[in-house]
Amino acid sequence: MTSEAAAGPGASAPSAAGAAGGILVPRLTQSWRSRLFIVLGLALIVIVPTNVGSTYWLTVLNGVGVAAIAAVGLNVLTGYAGQLSLGQSFFVGIGAFSAQYFGGSLDLPMVLWLPLAGLLAAAAGGAVAPFALRLRGPYLAIVSLSLVFLGIYIARNIPSVTGGYNGTVVEATATLGPIDFERPTIGGLSFSREQGMFLLTWSVLAVVLLLVANIMRTRAGRAMQASRDHDIAAEVLGVRMLRTQVNAFVVASGIGGIAGALLAVNLEYIRPENFDVALAVQYLAIIVIGGLGTLFGPVLGALFVGLVPVLVDEISGSLPFMSEAGSDGLSTTDLTLILYGSLIVLFLTLEPRGLVQILRRTSVWLRSRRSPR
């Protein structure tokens, strides 16, 4: 049902949308299939890092995990509440520098710096929301983009926190009670930092997913979706538009802040320019490619955006017509960019409702093949 979301505010398939009724979040803890899903997910969080020996692939996957968290946040605002934003990297940046400030400069433990990063970003979201929400569509998109530029400008000018142009090494330590994610040991076995970071990042992602799934089942969450689907009707129905949209903004920014904090400890060195427009657009790309307004869309989208360039790069390196590194002509990265951009175009043209929809259709198709028996 959530796929209706992808039609977005602009589409007007008339009676179809009405008939589909309310948008339902997968009821995570009720059906046995979704329980199995959770269990499988949790298992993967342990199995993947312990079996992937390559720090490179773990780094890539950690990047995917962080991007997925930020995108899950953005998805609350854009996917569920229908507000197009190109400003998510601003909130991610706030989270990142807060993490370093609280965890590094003030040396607070992770149980404090991680939530504080989220809270600070959420507060910033709450502060700008009333202004941003006067605007719609492309206007909001570009105004939210200005947050990114303003953020970089501000960050450059408070070097005591951010290191200014030089950026800052991240000293915040990722330790939770006895578990040190930077040097994890389980039962006498020691693991690499990347393995620990995978555990941390993807566990937080799981928590954030659960959180969002549950928010969307609450009254406030339903109000967000109602405000997206039928702006005017929702207002008539008593959904307090402003408060609802501010809620969405706050949740989205807060989750973005948490992603930023994790980005900081993953990267170990951050500078204002990290949180630029390209990053903001990437988050938007992630949720649209994955599937707007769907729970797992951002995760699939992040996997796509994070892994496709890496995989294409692996392949294109072996193509005969590629130019040697250092010589003129089409470089491997150029080819990667061309294929990556083309894939985005292709996917959106073929299935504007995202990877989630493709997955769903595939599973329906598989089931329909099995059912005759």
Partner: protein, 296 residues
């Protein structure tokens, strides 16, 4: 006084370039409702196709620019028809992201064809200048201003006097009603993209002149600078794009030299955005935008 006038003229010239790029955004947004992130790609194509026409085919400068504009317009129209149109009506996000995908592809293709070395366009102005009432103005800046005026005049004449222009206005006002009059949305969208392509190409050629910094990679990012301009002027208003461009161009030049250090480093980079936010606080639809836009 002279100093301020000198800065003003510089601001007007750079504002005109912003206006040309912004017009490209506006014509697409107005006619198709899509925020076209690939506009920067057209700037890149315009720059390199002009170079190709000038250096490889030996065309005179102006002819090279015209040829580059036509070719870029064709490419833009083809892109619209093949990949953008199928998603143009599917909500707000898919079309924006499709143009984002295109914006990734074009500079990479350009780098593959023309390398990333700096090149020289050999434009007619070079570093020539003229003295006017105590000011010295670069000829290239005068050319930029004149070209912008000419393009704007062509633009207005097109919308006022041509059937296609009327059709585009109708489509911008109400796409479904326009279709009901037999105005093909395919033709409208392709035309809008072609115009955006031509506008981007002309801007690209002017940016690639000696005074503009030469033929170089990375020109696609110039389009980003025009984003606050289109909001400032009103997303769907060609006049707004021009006024907004001039405002931003001039404001930015004065921000460089007339702003105290207290405001910190990088202020003139965010000045356009601050100006935009200021305007939006007063007029949420931008200077020239119509209030209906808010209902998108």
């Amino acid at each position: 006084m002279t100093e301020n006038l000198q800065i003003l003229v510089g601001g007007i010239a750079s504002g005109c370039l912003l206006a040309l790029i912004a017009l490209g955004f506006v014509v697409v947004t107005k006619s198709t409702g899509v925020l076209n992130l690939a506009q920067g790609g057209f700037v890149v194509l315009g720059c390199y196709l002009t170079y190709e026409g000038r250096q490889s085919w030996g065309l005179p400068f102006w002819l090279a620019v015209v040829v580059a504009a036509i070719l870029t317009a064709l490419i833009a129209a083809i892109i619209e028809a093949t990949v953008v149109h199928p998603v143009a009506l599917r909500g707000l996000y898919p079309p924006i992201l499709v143009t984002f995908g295109i914006s990734i592809v074009i500079p990479a293709v350009a780098a593959g064809i023309w390398t990333t070395y700096q090149l020289t366009l050999d434009d007619p102005w070079g570093l020539d200048k003229v003295g006017v009432a105590g000011l010295t103005i670069a000829q290239r800046d005068i050319a930029v201003i004149v070209v912008t005026l000419v393009v704007l005049a062509l633009f207005l004449a097109f919308f006022r006097f041509s059937r296609l222009g009327l059709a585009m206005q109708a489509a911008a006002s109400d796409p479904e009603a326009a279709l009901a009059q037999g105005i093909s949305d395919r033709v409208i969208h392709m035309t809008a993209w072609a115009m955006a392509g031509a506008l981007g190409a002309v801007a690209g050629a002017l940016l690639a002149t000696t005074g503009g910094g030469g033929v170089r990679p990375g020109l696609e990012t110039q389009a980003l600078i025009a984003l606050p301009v289109i909001i400032l002027g009103g997303l769907t208003s060609p006049a707004g794009a021009v006024v907004g461009g001039l405002l931003v161009g001039v404001a930015q030049q004065f921000a460089v030299v007339r702003v105290p250090d207290v405001l910190g480093s990088g202020f003139h980079e965010v000045a356009p955005y601050l100006l935009m936010l200021l305007v939006l606080l007063v007029r949420p639809q931008g200077l020239f935008g119509s209030a209906e836009v808010r209902r998108i």
